[in-house]
């Protein structure tokens, strides 16, 4: 007997919420349009019907309020999972996240933990108008006290969301919008990947591409093209930005001696900067060339017509790989 099913990432996330709610009645889901509508991306589809309005409900339209109320619920025995409708619409809640979600456990010397999840549909590539395609992970990854997770596969979407809901710590859970409709055969009864682990998605010997979220499929495509051109690229999917899996990432980089970090967000003071800096610190003498970054441009997210120039592409990744000073190596 096999438990494998073909699911989209959106369906897997919905399944994860459903399974968590069925197992643990303290799990509650709320936010804008998550009830009857099932969310603008249908991630919460059917939850109100199945678990009732008490467990999955619409709130007034106010993100700071949503996160703030979740803080209170988490203080008082619940495991809230809240949705920010789009990436950029989490900014009104930033104060609550930075000053409370991230700090409550520390402030209370471990007495008050906040087992809550903030789900954020994120990233570009879907032709969204302004404010609908931001990548805001750096803001959260820079804030101590949060776990920050970004799945890139359907299986990880299910597993990491289950792990996030089960976590005693607050987790900011980024859902790559571009991959919502990606399909995969998965077994959701399989073990959940622990938060804090990266995974090698493709083995390779010449250079390592380090990516997460929507950049992972692009990195894999680049590796496939490079293979045809005779260059063997490894691809590491970071998937947990905080905590960061130095071991897996550095092992891959040391083995190849060259690395490119790939991420959608604007590059300046970003998670990609961090990865480049820490990999260099740890693997300096194994490196034949500086770690390169292929990230979003340092511009406000451009309109749909222009997003192709902004986002990491196979070509841009391969250009960066070409730049890794192969002559001198």
């Amino acid at each position: 007997m096999t438990n494998r099913e073909k699911l989209t990432m959106a369906q897997a996330l919905n399944r994860a919420l459903r399974d968590a709610m069925a197992e643990d009645e303290t799990v509650v889901v709320f936010g804008e349009d998550v009830g009857q509508l099932g969310g603008v991306f249908r991630i919460t589809d059917g939850l109100t019907a199945e678990f009732g309005e008490q467990r999955c409900f619409d709130t007034p339209l106010a993100e700071s309020g949503i996160v703030g109320v979740a803080v209170g619920m988490a203080m008082n025995g619940m495991r809230p999972v809240v949705e920010m409708q789009f990436d950029a619409f989490s900014y009104p809640a930033f104060e609550q996240v930075a000053s409370h979600v991230a700090k409550m456990r520390n402030r209370t010397r471990g007495r008050v933990g906040l087992p809550m999840v903030i789900r954020i549909p994120y990233g570009g590539g879907i032709g969204g108008v302004e404010h609908h395609s931001d990548s805001s992970e750096a803001y959260f990854a820079h804030t101590p006290g949060l776990h920050v997770v970004v799945p890139s596969t359907v299986a990880d979407a299910y597993g990491l969301l289950r792990a996030a809901i089960a976590s005693p710590d607050p987790v900011v859970f980024f859902e790559p919008k571009k991959l919502y409709w990606s399909k995969e055969e998965v077994d959701v009864t399989q073990a959940v990947p622990p938060i804090g682990t990266a995974v090698v998605r493709r083995a390779g010997t010449d250079a390592t591409l380090i990516a997460y979220g929507p950049a992972v499929p692009v990195a894999l495509d680049a590796a496939a093209v490079a293979a045809q051109e005779g260059r063997s690229l490894a691809v590491v999917d970071v998937r947990s930005l905080v905590p960061f899996d130095d071991e897996t990432v550095c092992q891959a980089v040391r083995a190849t001696g060259r690395a490119v970090v790939v991420a959608e967000a604007s590059g300046f003071a970003s998670v990609a900067s961090e990865i480049a800096a820490r990999v260099t610190e740890r693997c300096f003498h194994s490196l034949a060339a500086p770690v390169r970054r292929v990230s979003g441009l340092d511009i406000p997210y451009p309109p749909p017509k222009y997003e192709g120039f902004h986002l990491p592409t196979v070509d841009r990744i391969l250009d960066a790989v070409d730049d890794l000073q192969w002559e001198e190596g």
Binding site: L37, G38, L61, F89, P92, H132, L297, P303, F309, D315
Partner: protein
């Protein structure tokens, strides 16, 4: 803290001057606008409806990326534009394209955002129309700032700031009203309560007697009005604008109306509301009632109706025409306006993109 709360509360029921049957309803405070004004508004309504219809078609044809329609809210859209003087400012949301166009902005420029091109296709200073705001309620403090700056220079500018019922729940709504009241900024906050924030009905948004009742908490007079009655809207908004202009401070106006279409073309309203509800509101259509009122008075003749229709046709034609042309994206535009002059970092990135394109062209 001496304001009399009773003078800040809205009237018990929304102000109506022409009812759903097209009958005039005398009101103790507000007078019916003149026939001329209403005939002009009628042409505006017809044009706005046509703009909504045409835009919806253009979405289906793939010429627009997305369109949040104001079908059913045209009276609000037109009144918002008509009560303002040239030097006043309008602060619209994504749903207010019809108001923007009614204020004189070229429709193709107004639709730039929604066709997936740059986020504001018109010059905000030309017609004094702020960029359409997407993050809800965030434009309201800007409106206050614009009004204060004008007042500091002794100008008599009034700012009309639009938002939806859902947006009233955001903190920025609160902060903007409070700043305006304390600093006596000449702003009229105009809430189009179309009963829904995407799928969320008003009852999930507020437990207040009305949204107009929020005014008293800021010392701002609130008023509520039938949002499908352009005559009432012109009277109430017009009075609020003149009150603000005369230095008496901000006002809050709530229009009770209805979002006849789905939130946008991407939304499926059948998931959260019944057809009957929509039908009931269609019977209160803003155009039909005005048409019947003006026709009965003899102020609206078949010729004037045709003239309005033809004008709307030309608008639709201009939209089709303007949106049929796609300009090629120029990647240098990505870097041109992030700052007044690009940083060295942006110059470097611009060179990278240009290099890529050059190499691509060579292949």
């Amino acid at each position: 803290m001496t304001a009399d709360p009773m003078r800040l509360l809205p009237s018990r029921a929304p102000v109506v001057l022409i009812d759903a049957q097209g009958e005039p309803r005398p009101h103790e405070t507000y007078a019916l606008p003149s026939d001329d004004e209403l005939v002009a508004a009628y042409a505006g309504l017809v044009a706005a409806r046509r703009l909504n219809d045409q835009a919806s078609v253009l979405v289906r044809q793939g010429r627009l990326a997305v369109y949040p329609s104001s079908h059913g809210q045209e009276a609000c859209q037109v009144a918002a534009a008509r009560v303002l003087a040239d030097d006043d400012w309008l602060f619209p949301t994504y749903r207010d394209t019809a108001a923007i166009v009614a204020r004189g902005v070229d429709p193709v420029q107004a639709l730039t955002l929604l066709r997936g091109d740059w986020h504001c296709g018109y010059d905000p200073y030309e017609h004094r129309v702020a960029p359409q705001a997407t993050p809800l309620a965030t434009q309201l403090p800007h409106a206050v700032g614009v009004a204060l700056a004008a007042r500091m220079r002794g100008e008599s500018t009034v700012v009309l700031a639009l938002c939806g019922d859902g947006a009233t729940s955001e903190g920025d709504f609160h902060e903007a009203l409070n700043f305006a009241a304390v600093l006596r900024a000449p702003v009229v906050f105009f809430v189009q309560n179309n009963q829904y924030a995407i799928s969320v009905p008003l009852a999930r948004q507020t437990a207040a007697p009305s949204l107009a009742h929020k005014g008293v908490g800021y010392g701002v007079p609130g008023e509520q009005v039938d949002g499908n009655d352009v005559a009432a809207l012109l009277a109430v908004l017009g009075a609020a604008v003149e009150r603000a202009r005369s230095g008496e401070g901000p006002q809050l106006v709530e229009a009770h109306t209805y979002r006849v279409a789905a939130h946008t073309n991407a939304d499926d309203a059948a998931r959260y509301r019944a057809d009957d509800e929509v039908k009931a509101w269609l019977a209160r259509d803003p155009i039909i009632r005005l048409e019947s009122y003006l026709t009965r008075r003899g102020a609206l003749t078949p010729e004037k109706i045709s003239a309005a229709t033809e004008q709307a046709d030309r608008l639709a034609e201009a939209m089709r025409e303007g949106l049929s042309r796609d300009e090629a994206a120029n990647p240098a535009d990505l870097f041109a306006h992030v700052y007044a002059s690009p940083t060295p970092q942006l110059d470097e990135q611009a060179r990278m993109v240009a290099d890529e394109l050059e190499r691509e062209a060579e292949v």
